[in-house]
Each structure stands twice: as structure tokens, then as C-alpha cells.
Amino acid sequence: MSNDPIMRKERLDLTRLTTGIPGLDEMIEGGYPFPSVILVSGSAGTGKTTFALKYLCEGVKKGERGLYFTTLSEPTQWMLRYASQFDFLDQDYFGDDIVYADLGSLLMDPDSDKLLDAIEENIAEVMPQRIVIDPITVVGGMLKDNYRTFLFDLSNRLKNWNATTIVTGEVRPDELYPPEISYAVDGIILLILSEEAGARRKYLEVLKMRGTNHITGRQSIDITRADGIVVLKARF
């Protein structure tokens, strides 16, 4: 590399989207790379959906449109009923600023090409900067043999649509993340529920974040009505 300041290649800083999670941006150089695909992994009750919803609500405040795919066929009515308990979620966001799309019916008779087409049709119509697929692991259970190829194509296309996507992954309490997804994503964030001295404590760990000098190690988190997930003891 030349030392000549004119000839030296300037490092092109990645555009980043703020996470909406207090304390997390500071751990990952200001936010998620844009575009990218980030896996948020955790067992039941660790706050994956809350994490994803906060990401979309953060986008609305910045004029960035959100698209929320559910793979569980959960009607908007029920998702909103629980999510409305958080102060950060304004119900008016849903409809225009955050569009809700149900992939559940497509998973009754799973076909990876049709699923990919349906995802892309929604993206092309909505043109979001922020996407959530919650949870992606349901798709793995349905597609089986085609799952890896599907994940590779999905990840590639989500980035080419110029969005940063959060995919959530449900794991058993003894697992860190779904291994078949890890190679297809640019970042992995673990939400961990740990039993310590008779109490359950929650942690967040950034395991991988491509192009980012991230803080490693488990950080304590709390889930509050005001902010959703909050990183309590980030060591920065």
C-alpha cells in the first residue's frame, strides 16, 4: 500500500443503522452495517421479538421504512396486543411505516422458490430499509433439504435489496445459535438466559459482526416497558 496520501486507498466506512437498543450501538461502531443480515439468537423468553420490534421502531423515527415478516401465522392483532405493552411501540407505525407480512400460509406447503418470490414481492412493493424475519428457524423445519441453499439465496438477495435484516432464531437453552444459519449471516447476536445462584439473568453477546470492531463478551441486559431491551453493563 502506498504512503502517498493521494494514491492510498481510502477506507470506505460502512453505512450503519442504529439498533434502537440502548448500549448496543456503542458495542458495534454505531450500528448494524447497511446492508447486512443479522441473526438474533436465543431460547424462548429471551426477548428476540422485542429486540426486532425495537429495531423497526427505531427506523421509523429516522424515516426508514420497516417490513416485518412473521413465519408463525400470528395475526397482527395478537402480535400488537402484546407488543403494545412497550412504550416505544406506537400502534400508528403499523400499516405505513412498518408493514406486517405473514409467510405462515406459504409454509403449509413449503417451496423454497415460492417463499423467496413472496419475500421479494413484499420487499419490492414496500421498499424497506429495515426488515425482520421472525423467526427464521421455522422455515428450516419446513424446507429441510433445501434450507442451506435457501438461506444463501435469501441472505444475498436481502442485501441486494438494500436493507438491513434481522432474522431471529429460536434455539434450545443449551444451544448458542442455529448452526445452519450462521454461515449465511453477517452478524450474530446472542440473547442468553442464564440461571445463576437461583436467579435467571439475561445477557447479550455480539458473537460476530462483519466489518466491525465489536465489543466481545456477555453484557447484562434488562427488558423494560420504556425501552424494551437495554444493555446494562457494556464495558466500553
Binding site: E64, Q129, N160
Partner: protein, 209 residues
């Protein structure tokens, strides 16, 4: 304005939306045909968006410089020429010129092109040193200007690519700033180049685009 360089300052997260608005405005509202050079993603994505938003593909020729690096199986039928890769991009204007003269293998009559767009100029910095990108911009604009009334919208994020923006600014005839309010403008995309100015949510509400 009939021809010239329009520098458009846009948050980088909104480049795709703005490009779609520009294509619609130039082709449908202004009746122009032109070329769209894909650097940041394969051309099929803009083809998909144009179909979805019912914008005719008949008046645009894509020059795709990234597909061969993308391992993307996505389909999308359009008139397209492929370039080997985004490296040595400074040679592209002369390749377009050659093509226009019928000396190459292309099919682009540049005299008939009413616009030329690049998605996106900043992405060229991933593959080329800054002097090469600046040389490309300069030569690209010279090539465009030498072919009648071609309009060259240059979409850049000033806050992120200051040096590149400054270079483009010296070559531009009109400068427009697009602010956060554009976010949902693609519901009814159209754009009017009326001169220097700042396009804001208020403008959108007034129906200027």
C-alpha cells in the same frame, strides 16, 4: 433543463428509492430513454422494482458491472450489457463511446440517450482508488455531455462521501438535496428538475414531487 449534470444529495439508505423516482420521472414524465449502470447490485433488482411499480422497461438499457461477481441467481428480463467487473472503471466511458460508434459489441446509440445514471457512484470506491473513481466521473460526464442533451443525475450522500461529492459538485450544473421526507415518495414517484433547491417533506406535501 434539457441536459447537464444534476447532483443529488441523498441519505445512502435511500439511494434505491431515489433512483426509482428518477427513472420514473425521466422516462414517463420526460419521455426520455437512457442507460442505467449497475454497480452496487445486479441490474435484476431494479428490473424487479420497475415491474412492481409499473415503470416500462422499454426505454432503459442496463449496463451491469457487478453481476459476474455476485453469484446471484435472480431472474429479470431487460435489455442489458455486461461488463467484466467494477475494477478499472475509468475505462468504462471510452467503452461506452466505442460502443456508440459501432466499433465494439454493444448496442448503445448514445446520441439517443436522454439520461445516464449510475447505481451507485460511491460503491465504485470499494473496487477502485479514489483518483480512478474521480477520473471516471470526469470522463463519464464529458462523454455524456458530448452526446447532445443527456441528463446525468448523480446520486451521492454528501455526509458520507464528502470528497467524492466535492469532486462531483465541481462538474454539476444543478444541485438538489433530498431530505428524510422522501422516504415514502415512491408511492407516487415523479420528480421535477426546476433548478437549485432543497426538496423536503414540505415540498412533497405541496405536490412538487
Amino acid at each position: 433543463m434539457d441536459g447537464g449534470v444534476v447532483l443529488i444529495d441523498v441519505p445512502s439508505t435511500q439511494f434505491v428509492r431515489v433512483n426509482l423516482v428518477l427513472l420514473k420521472g425521466l422516462m414517463e414524465d420526460r419521455g426520455r430513454q437512457g442507460i442505467f449502470i449497475s454497480v452496487d447490485r445486479p441490474h435484476q433488482y431494479m428490473v424487479h422494482l420497475m415491474r412492481m411499480h409499473q415503470i416500462s422497461l422499454g426505454d432503459v438499457t442496463f449496463i451491469d458491472v457487478i453481476s459476474r461477481f455476485s453469484s446471484d441467481r435472480k431472474g429479470g428480463e431487460a435489455r442489458v450489457g455486461f461488463v467484466d467487473g467494477p475494477f478499472h472503471i475509468d475505462s468504462l466511458p471510452s467503452a461506452l463511446e466505442e460502443s456508440s460508434k459501432g466499433q465494439g459489441s454493444g448496442f448503445l446509440p448514445l446520441e439517443d440517450c436522454g439520461f445516464a445514471m449510475i447505481d451507485n457512484i460511491a460503491a465504485l470506491q470499494i473496487y477502485n482508488r479514489n483518483p480512478a473513481v474521480e477520473l471516471f466521473i470526469n470522463n463519464f460526464i464529458l462523454t455524456a455531455k458530448s452526446h447532445g442533451s443527456m441528463l446525468v443525475p448523480m446520486v451521492l450522500d454528501k455526509s458520507r462521501h464528502e470528497s467524492l461529492y466535492d469532486s462531483a459538485q465541481k462538474l454539476s450544473d444543478v444541485e438538489i438535496k433530498v431530505e428524510k421526507g422522501l422516504s415514502f415518495a415512491t408511492r407516487n414517484p415523479s420528480l421535477e428538475f426546476s433548478g437549485n433547491g432543497v426538496i423536503t417533506e414540505a415540498d412533497k406535501n405541496r405536490g412538487e414531487y
